[in-house]
């Protein structure tokens, strides 16, 4: 196929699929903990790291990752101090991140590089970025598998998990760092403005049809990988921005799943009635 003759597209597929595997793993826990907005906050805040990276002449993905980890830990810290109004922590850090990103972006000498992080730049992935995505993606996935039971228990019942001997504080801190790493990698692929679509939409689709927790994770990965592959094909042949088209495919998939589910339920009801 013509698309695979280009090195940049092969890189794009590899990076896109890795991110599409790790993000739903993180996304399932985020959605079940009712923290969907954290994805938006961290991805928007990562822009401050991108700008700082471009100014300081270090790789923007590394800059985004450092700022993302700091922001995620700050959100956790504020959440602990304001347990009754924990969602405020997300708004506080997002305001700080976007404010900083806006000011720092004025000092970036190559505005095009900064803009590419808004909607993603999957087709301009450098070798270093690809190594980062492969290495850190493997790390995120390995830690997620190792902490599978603990994360499941905390997502369901934090208090119960603590009583059963789960080291909730440690697991939460590790998960916060994993989230920050995954989001800063995804920001490069789909763009900081669209990361939450990759976190929430595959999980939302999966939750409509899954019959178990494990299935929820597997189906979410399938939805995310499928959206990314279709998105990359459309972007190559139709010239769409990859991040934007991947996000739109996610939304249409969700609507399609909802529609099919409703039709299936009605058909089943009708069948039972006729019997």
């Amino acid at each position: 196929m013509e698309i695979f003759e280009y090195i940049f597209m092969r890189k794009a597929f590899l990076a896109g699929i890795i991110v599409a595997i790790i993000i739903p793993c993180i996304g399932v826990i985020i959605v079940l903990k009712r923290l969907s907005m954290i994805g938006d906050a961290l991805s928007h805040t990562s822009l401050a790291g991108v700008a700082a990276g471009l100014i300081l002449n270090i790789n923007p993905v590394i800059g985004a990752m450092i700022v993302c980890v700091a922001a995620a830990l700050s959100i956790e810290s504020i959440r602990k101090r304001l347990p009754r109004y924990s969602e405020m922590s997300i708004a506080i850090i997002m305001s700080l991140g976007i404010g900083l990103a806006g000011i720092l972006s004025d000092y970036v000498k190559t505005p095009a590089s900064f803009d590419s992080f808004l909607f993603g730049s999957i087709i301009a992935i450098t070798d270093l970025e690809l190594y980062l995505i492969v290495g850190l993606g493997a790390l995120v996935l390995t830690v997620f598998i190792l902490l599978y039971k603990e994360l499941f228990y905390i997502a369901f019942d934090t208090q119960g998990a603590r009583l059963s001997g789960v080291k909730v504080q440690v697991v939460n801190t590790i998960f916060t760092i994993l989230t920050a790493i995954a989001i800063s990698l995804a920001a490069k692929i789909v763009g900081a403005l669209l990361v939450s679509s990759l976190i929430v939409l595959p999980v939302a689709c999966s939750m409509q049809i899954s019959k178990s927790y494990l299935q929820t994770i597997i189906y979410a990965i399938i939805f995310a990988v499928a959206s990314t592959i279709i998105g990359l094909f459309l972007s190559f042949y139709q010239g769409f921005k990859p991040g934007s088209i991947i996000a739109l495919i996610g939304v249409f998939s969700f609507l399609a799943v909802l529609l099919i589910k409703t039709i299936y339920k009605k058909a089943k009801k009708l069948k039972t009635k006729n019997q």
Partner: protein, 241 residues
Amino acid sequence: MEDIIKVNDLYFSYGTHPVLRRLDFYLRQGEFVAILGSNGSGKSTLLKILLGQLQADQGCIELFGQDIKRFKDYNRIGYVAQNSISLCSNFPAKVIEIVGLGLYGSPFKNKKQQALQALEAVGMQDYAHSLIGKLSGGQKQRVMLAKALASNCDLLILDEPTTGVDSQTTEHIYQILKDKTTQQGKTVLIVTHDQECAARYCSRILCLGAGSLLYLTKEQVLLEQKYKHKHTETEDGNGDI
């Protein structure tokens, strides 16, 4: 019999608002004890202190003979929280996956079998592969009880586990708990508003009011229940008095 819980001279307040005052009580192995009390009397606060989520202002608490400040074996305690039904709503997991969480860190080899046995104990074995979110409130409550039972813990603490559950399921839950104490020597502490069930199934009843505990006999509880019932009937115009 070993003292599973021993509380001496316990004080607790939220800021300047005192909740528990000079509280003394004990719970021995194999007992099924109910704590009654009106809303806001401090029942859930007491449980939170026992579970290490809140720290007492003053007093001495021992769990399994150990000072609560040094106590780490919380996996010996099974807990069913007041909000346990709400945890299950729309959660995308199978019943057996949820019950399996209760076996976290347990040494059992066949955890699936253990989880199924716990479900069988609460009469929910046929729902093992159903989605937890699709069950009724009473069924969810029984699953949460199975999760606590699966851990094979020595002490079960339940915070209003039969709220919103029909009377038949409530009786069933109390019977399961009673069997656990009489047949397996487990200890159960239940916070409830259900005076009738408490009087019928529990070995002792404590009443929490104005921050202090009062020991009640079953006869006292039943008499109060009877009086309340008659009083309500009189107000409705249907009573004999």
